[in-house]
Structure formats: structure tokens, C-alpha cells
């Protein structure tokens, strides 16, 4: 059994502004080490014959970035979405383009996974369930009462994983704290395994209009070498919807695998600072570029040129990129996308 990685390259590029921009969003930036997160996502499957060549789902504006970064991922296919329609239609497109019995592994391209072996082990466990026509979510081991993610509640053990007892949207802090304490809940990391034909059958049941329009967009689409362009008219007519809303919360066959793999969605500068903790000095400061710090603790300071001098700060992120200067507390980092400068790029 081969697993078909389906790599989703979406995102508006606002949460890590000013480094990530609409033109170069998070997946295509070398935020963690030398490689971009897209390249790291590809590398998790490289040189492992149990994985087929990946299918990359992306918007037209990022085609050149993707081509440049595909590197030696030979045989990769690229599907260019005419407009962004969230994860439901993107995954449906991929399912319609793969063999009916293909086991698809849906992977966002902008997540950091420290332990690739744990990831691959979870992927194979998920694939076993997907082969039995379960829709499988990755339940990420939670280590803090995060209010920015959805949660999965575990039910009975099943086939090496668990039945999903409940999908829960972003909770408030009190509930998130209770979830963490109970041990029954995992984060919904947006990583899934499906059998392509089964996914399409469930989609036809829960979102028949989406299924119909996706089939039409594929039937009238155009292949050009390794690039597939779905027909713009039917695809653009699809309502934007996440796979969670469109399918996962409606299916009777939702299961999950547990994944403890050093996962982070690097969803803010604070999350990046956490993921880079190994590179911090004794005071917890992380520096990149010309940076002088006096009396600072847990400061993330990144500059692509001008020198940053900082004094007496705690838990602050200072990001200088392409003529823009961002200064935020770690807590404030989740509001970066609301800045006028991030919204109106």
C-alpha cells in the first residue's frame, strides 16, 4: 500500500507578517532552519518508497515559488486552484484526481513537525484505518490549554486508533484548561487520511453541490505536464468551506490516531519562538540578524538588515523585514493579522 501525500499550500500570509506576505506566505519561508516549511513537508516523504509522489494543491500566485522549491521531489503533481475555496474543495479536487483506492494523506505545508519518525508512524496507522473506509484525523498531543485550535475528543479504541467522540471548535480558556486536565482531548491538527473514493462518497452525501462542481471542474480541467488546472467556472462557483465543516463533523465514520510528534502550526511569532526554543540563549532570547540586547528575557528578535537594539524587554517579539517593523508581546502576536499593514498588503 502506497500513501499519496496531498500537500495544501493555502494561507493569507498575515499571521507572520511582516516576514510572511500575501506574495510569499509562511510555507515558502525558511522560518525553521535553512529549508522552507514547504521543503520540510516534502522531505518527510522523500526517499521512502511507502509514499507515492505528492500532489501539491496551491493558488496561481504561488506556482513559481512551488516550482522553485520542489527540488528533487520528482513526479510531484501540482494542482492550481483558480481561487481559494478553503480545504473542503481543495481536498475534494485531490480525491477526484487520484485513483479511487488511493490512500490520501492530507498535510498542510506550513506546520512544523520535530519528530518525522513519529509523524510517519502515525501516518501509517491512519492509512490502515482509512483503508477500511474511516475518515481519520490526527489528534495532536496537547501540552497547554491552547484556545487557538479545535479539539478532538477520544472515544473507544479502534484498529490501533480511536473513534472520534466529538469535534470541538476553538474553546475558551476555562474549557481548554479542563480538556488538558482530562487527557481525553487532542488538538485537531488539520492532518487527515482518507481513501479517495470513500471521501468523495461522503462528500456527495453531505455536500452534493460541492461534489458535483468539483467533478465538473476536474472533467473540464486542463493537464499541462505535471500541472493540472481545474476549470475555473465550476470551481469558482463552489462555496468556500473547511473539510471539518463539510465532511468531518457530519460523517458517521470519523476516527483518529494519536500523534505526539513535536507539532506546531507556527501560527504566530510566539509559536515560532516556542518552536525555536532550542536556539535560545540562557535568557531565552532568540536572535537572527544584527541584534544587541541588554537585560532582555524571552525576546525573539529577527532582522533582515537594520540593527535592532533592545533593552529590558520580556516576552516580546521584534521583527524587521523589508522596511516594516513589528513589535509585539507574545500574547499580542495572535493579533498581527489585524494590523492595517498586514491586512492591506
Amino acid at each position: 500500500m502506497q500513501i499519496y501525500p496531498v500537500i495544501l499550500c493555502g494561507g493569507r500570509g498575515t499571521r507572520l507578517w511582516p516576514v510572511s506576505r500575501k506574495a510569499v506566505p509562511k510555507p515558502f519561508l525558511p522560518l525553521m532552519g535553512e529549508e522552507t516549511m514547504f521543503e520540510q513537508t516534502l522531505r518527510r516523504f522523500a526517499r521512502d518508497a511507502r509514499f507515492a509522489s505528492p500532489l501539491v494543491m496551491a493558488g496561481a500566485t504561488h506556482v513559481d515559488l512551488i516550482k522553485a522549491q520542489l527540488g528533487d521531489a520528482q513526479g510531484a503533481r501540482l494542482v492550481v486552484e483558480p481561487e481559494a475555496r478553503n480545504t473542503g474543495p481543495a481536498i475534494a479536487l485531490a480525491a477526484a484526481l487520484l485513483p479511487e483506492d488511493a490512500i490520501m494523506l492530507i498535510c498542510p505545508s506550513d506546520h512544523h513537525i520535530a519528530d518525522s519518525n513519529a509523524f510517519r508512524a502515525a501516518a501509517f496507522a491512519a492509512a490502515q484505518m482509512a483503508r477500511q473506509d474511516y475518515l481519520v484525523s490526527f489528534g495532536i498531543a496537547a501540552d497547554r490549554p491552547e484556545t487557538g485550535y479545535g479539539y478532538l475528543r477520544r472515544g473507544e479504541p479502534l484498529l490501533g486508533g480511536f473513534v472520534v467522540r466529538e469535534f470541538i471548535e476553538k474553546p475558551d480558556l476555562a474549557r481548554a484548561t479542563a480538556y488538558l486536565a482530562s487527557g481525553e482531548y487532542s488538538w485537531n491538527g488539520g492532518i487527515f487520511a482518507f481513501r479517495a473514493g470513500h471521501f468523495l462518497a461522503e462528500l456527495a452525501m453531505h455536500r452534493p453541490e460541492m461534489a458535483r462542481l468539483v467533478a465538473e471542474a476536474v472533467a473540464d480541467g486542463v493537464s499541462e505536464g505535471a500541472i493540472f488546472r481545474p476549470a475555473p467556472k465550476p470551481f469558482s462557483a463552489i462555496a468556500s468551506e473547511s473539510v471539518d465543516y463539510a465532511v468531518m463533523e457530519n460523517t458517521m465514520r470519523a476516527t483518529m490516531v494519536l500523534a505526539d510528534m513535536g507539532w506546531s502550526d507556527i501560527g504566530s511569532w510566539a509559536a515560532l519562538a516556542d518552536a525555536l526554543a532550542d536556539e535560545a540563549d540562557e535568557a531565552g532570547n532568540i536572535k537572527s540578524g544584527q541584534v544587541d540586547l541588554i537585560g532582555c528575557n524571552r525576546v525573539l528578535a529577527i532582522s533582515d538588515g537594520p540593527r535592532i537594539s533592545a533593552i529590558d524587554l520580556e516576552d516580546v517579539c521584534i521583527i524587521v523585514s523589508d522596511g516594516e517593523i513589528l513589535v509585539t508581546t507574545r500574547n499580542g502576536a495572535q493579533a498581527v493579522g489585524k494590523l492595517p499593514s498586514a491586512v492591506c498588503q
Copy 2:
């Protein structure tokens, strides 16, 4: 009786780095409104016949700045110090160049004084005492337990002012708090009134070598229009010393006047923020240049070009100037001069 303003333009330009630099230190920057602090210092005496034309004491590197900013201060004379030797030798030079009976008013050029009338009233009270051969300090009304200034302790009332009972160097916070509570102490603002001849007599008593070398530097100096250049050799041979150490702490005739005039030495970005409090918005933020703030309180954000975006900060100063970026808490602002970038300009 005319008063001769003696304006001291010293300073290393480190405490308000990166806006102030060695080349353009604080006096010559428009930090408070449209005018520079040097121009504001001149304007306190302008169009008031009770003041003679000022004597400006400065280093060679700032002569062009001073000429450009003297404006309509006709008759001003400029004394160019070959090397910086602190306030003692600078004031001695001025005293040696003025008539023996001239009442000198020593004014730093980088202090902000909100109430010019109160300043002039204090100056005339001080001049009355100086005429009687007292060495008169301005005691600035203290409104917080500041540890960055020296203090004057009041003694008996005398001639509309007070005898100085004690000169106190920068205290620790406990002592500064006690001084503030007692009401007997004022800040030593570095503003003085002397009769020129009397000052030189005291100097000859307490620092005979300094007095001798200053007399020699004046005797061998060169006048060129409104500019006087003391002889470099004797002047450079003088030991660097503040007027407080050289004379004030040794004289038997130290007196003081009280001055409640909205004084600030703008000795840090935090002090500038305090002095600009009238320009703050409801959240206490002060902005200059392209600045977007979300959830910030009491932030001072100044940029000469690149946009600053800040989130969730309190009591922080962000200064962007000439390609340098400074981020500091208000408390940390006093350490700006210790930054490698400020030291090695």
C-alpha cells in the same frame, strides 16, 4: 543690571540614541516641537533687554550646527572648546571672557523648561544673590524620587533664596524617596548664577591650576569675528571636572533659588515621553511618523521613515532613526547609552 546667558552645548549624544548622535547631539534636535532645544534655550532670553547677548560654549564639531541655529540671536558670541573638559573649565572660560562684574547665568542647552516666566523670575532672583558674591544654584522642584540627579538640601532663607545646606550626589531609591517626602530637597538642575569676577576668585582658591590654565588659554586665544578660540595647548592641559566638584562643593557661599518651571533634562526617551505628555492620546501613546498601535498603553513610537506596527505593549519606547531600531521599556531607557551601537558611533 544685565544678565549674561552662558549656554553650554556639551554632551555625547548617547542617551537619546539613535536620534541623537555624536554628530548631532540633543541640543540641536527638534525633540520638543518645531524648534531644537538650543533654539528654545536662546528664545528664553530673546527680546528681553534685561539679558545681554548670549555666550555659547561648544565643541568644534558643532560650530556649523550652532551657526545655523543661532538665527536672530544677534550679538551672540561663540567660544569653541578645543576639547571637552566638562563644565568647570567651560564656565571658567566664559567668566574670563566676560566683564568682571557681569552676572553670568549658566544654562545647559538641552533642558526643557515649560514655564519660561518662572525660569526668568528665578533667574532674576538668582542674579540678585550673585551680585552679592554668592554662587547660586537653581533648585528644581522634585516631583518623583529620581535617582538620576544630584540634590540640593535647603538651609536658612537668604535674600529671597536659601543657603545650600548640602550638595548630594545621585542617591539610591530609598534616599530619593525620603528626600521627596521631607520637602527639604530639590534637584540640582545644573543652572547657576555667578558674578564672573567672584567665580574666578573662588576657582583660584579651590582649583588654582585650572584657573591658571584657563587664564593662559584666554590670553593666548584668538578672536575671529564673533568666535573666540582659546589656545588649545593650555586648555587641553586642564583636568576634566564638573563645576559642582571644582567649585560648588567647596565654596562657603553656596546659595540657591527655588525653581518650579516644568523642567526636564530630557535625559532619556522616558523623560521625553513625560515631557510630551500633552500630546498623548487617551491611552497615553505618543506617535510621530508612520505608526500603527493595537492595544498599547503609554507607548512612545517615533519613526523617521519605516512604519512601526506595535501590539499589546505597555510603557515601551520604540525609536526608529537613520536605519537604527531601538526598543526599550521606559525603565530601560536610562541604559541606552550603554548599547554598543550608542557607544561606538
